[in-house]
């Protein structure tokens, strides 16, 4: 059991459903769909089999000042936008030479991403090829590096306790939160700005995921394409987005009278050591990750009322996760699968979905899973569909799993 209470005092996000947490959350509860037909010219040019994506609802280059936007990869832009929202939501002001809301030596950042800035890398490679060295941007490396999102947030907020950027594919955002929790537990920081970001909708990522046969090809029905736990699911839809949470020592938050959304009470992080993309058939790593999170939080499976599932809408993944949840927690937990609305935000997913988990506890409501017309019988769990469900929750789990066999479970409490 942990010895330092870690609370959540600020949240920020930009997603396919909205440019802020409140816009996203309201759209999610209303059952909105963030998935669109991908009408980029390259879809036709390369004859890509998967023609759907979940683009950001608000273009980050319309939010940031022009010069700042041109110095940042899109992944860095959205991390910064989400971090600013979370920071202000926590009641902090941006630092100046005269004033810092948090002692910089006690402030950390932990923002993960699956791949960082591949779009910058490929764009600049094209420029090198067609226009030569002179036209390659001197910002190429800082824009493409996967620690760029965390680094820019750290510079803006003056975080000197350490800036980290976990990379564990689709679990990166969740690992960002788990690492932040460790920083506070270890005494390295009082406040950590944590989460994940991804913006990699590009012909090569779509082609690569398509070749690994993980994307939905329900091209004519964007509204029905992402359908976690449904018998007719056929793969995920690539999205983009960022989520950032302000994690804070409870006594630090109490001393300044901060509003508290809830606690990050524990985490589990395991690895499958099995296959580079496929999950372990027995789900050992997923089960242990959930069990560790519950134990670290000082809880028992009976205390967990809800799981915000990773459920990407792939045939194998969703059933494996459901089995792991049943084994680790039992059959009483109520699930939801937000990727049915958002698509898969890759490195942003674990953070954005953790925000949903926190808000479900805070407001006592679980958003519905879209497109759940016929529950796969092998899921054998209660998945909220149709309308959101009002339910009082004391504790909930967010699951995130990534290519490479990364399993991260986060336990949140009221």
């Amino acid at each position: 059991m942990s010895n330092v209470d870690v609370v959540i005092t600020g949240i920020g996000a930009t997603t396919p459903l909205g440019g802020t947490v409140s816009a996203t959350w309201e759209a999610l509860l209303a059952g909105a769909n963030g998935i669109r037909a991908n009408d980029a010219d390259w879809v036709e040019r390369y004859d890509l089999p998967a023609r759907l994506s979940a683009p950001l609802a608000v273009d980050p280059s319309d939010v940031l000042p022009r010069v700042q936007a041109r110095r940042l990869d899109r992944c860095e832009q959205i991390a910064l936008i989400a971090a600013r929202e979370a920071w202000a939501d926590a009641g902090f002001e941006l630092p100046s030479d005269e004033h810092t809301s948090v002692d910089p030596e006690r402030l950390g950042v932990s923002i993960g991403t699956g791949i960082g800035g591949p779009v910058t890398l490929l764009d600049q490679d094209d420029i090198l090829e067609t226009q030569g060295l002179r036209k390659v941007s001197p910002l190429t490396v800082p824009m493409l590096m996967p620690n760029g999102p965390a680094a820019h947030v750290g510079i803006e907020l003056r975080a000197r306790a350490g800036v980290h950027s976990p990379a564990s594919a689709c679990a990166s955002g969740a690992e960002g939160l788990a690492s932040a929790y460790q920083m506070i537990q270890n005494g390295r920081a009082d406040v950590v700005v944590a989460g994940g970001a991804e913006a990699c909708i590009h012909p090569i990522t779509v082609a690569g995921f398509a070749q690994s046969r993980t994307l939905s090809t329900r091209n004519d029905e964007p509204d029905r394409a992402s359908r976690p736990f449904d018998t007719d699911r056929d793969g995920f839809v690539l999205g983009e987005g960022a989520g950032v949470l302000v994690l804070e020592r409870a006594d630090h938050a109490a001393a300044r009278g901060a509003r508290v959304y809830g606690r990050l009470a524990g985490y589990g992080m395991t690895s499958d050591a099995h296959h580079i993309t496929g999950n372990h058939p027995d789900g050992i790593g997923q089960i242990k990750a959930i069990e560790h999170a519950v134990a670290m939080a000082g809880l028992t499976p009976a205390d967990i009322g809800h799981v915000n599932a990773h459920a990407t809408s792939t045939v194998v993944g969703d059933v494996g996760e459901a089995a792991a949840i049943r084994k680790a927690l039992g059959e009483h937990v109520v699930l939801t699968a937000p990727k049915s609305s958002l698509g898969h935000l890759v490195g942003g997913a674990g953070a954005v979905e953790s925000i949903f988990t926190v808000l479900s506890i805070y407001y006592g409501i679980i958003p519905a899973t879209r497109n759940l017309e016929q529950l796969d019988p092998r899921v054998a769990l209660d998945v909220v569909s149709g309308q959101p469900r009002k339910v009082e929750l004391q504790a909930a789990i967010n699951d995130s799993f990534g290519f490479g066999g990364h399993n991260v479970a986060l336990a949140f409490t009221a």
Binding site: P65, R66, V67, R134, K135, S137, P138, L139, P142
Partner: protein, 83 residues
């Protein structure tokens, strides 16, 4: 090749580039200003500014020359002498 541009024209062209790359108002781009100390332009942006200035004015600005261009006036003088 067009006529050699006046110093005013070079200053105007540089100001456009500096605005595009670094967001500095053209009114602030005056000969006595230091790129780094007064206009807050970092070394990465200076590389971009130099490349754009080379294209705009048809000059070459090697790295060792770029290092000597401390003020906007230095840059105007350099371009004027090499155009």
């Amino acid at each position: 090749m067009a006529d050699k541009p006046s110093d005013e024209k070079i200053l105007e062209g540089l100001a456009e580039i500096v605005e595009e790359v670094a967001g500095v108002s053209p009114d602030d781009v005056t000969p006595e200003k230091s790129f780094v100390d007064d206009l807050d332009i970092d070394s990465l942006s200076m590389v971009e500014i130099a490349v754009q200035a080379e294209d705009k004015f048809g000059v070459k600005i090697p790295d060792d020359e770029l290092a000597n261009l401390k003020t906007v006036g230095d840059a105007v003088k350099y371009v004027s002498a090499h155009v």
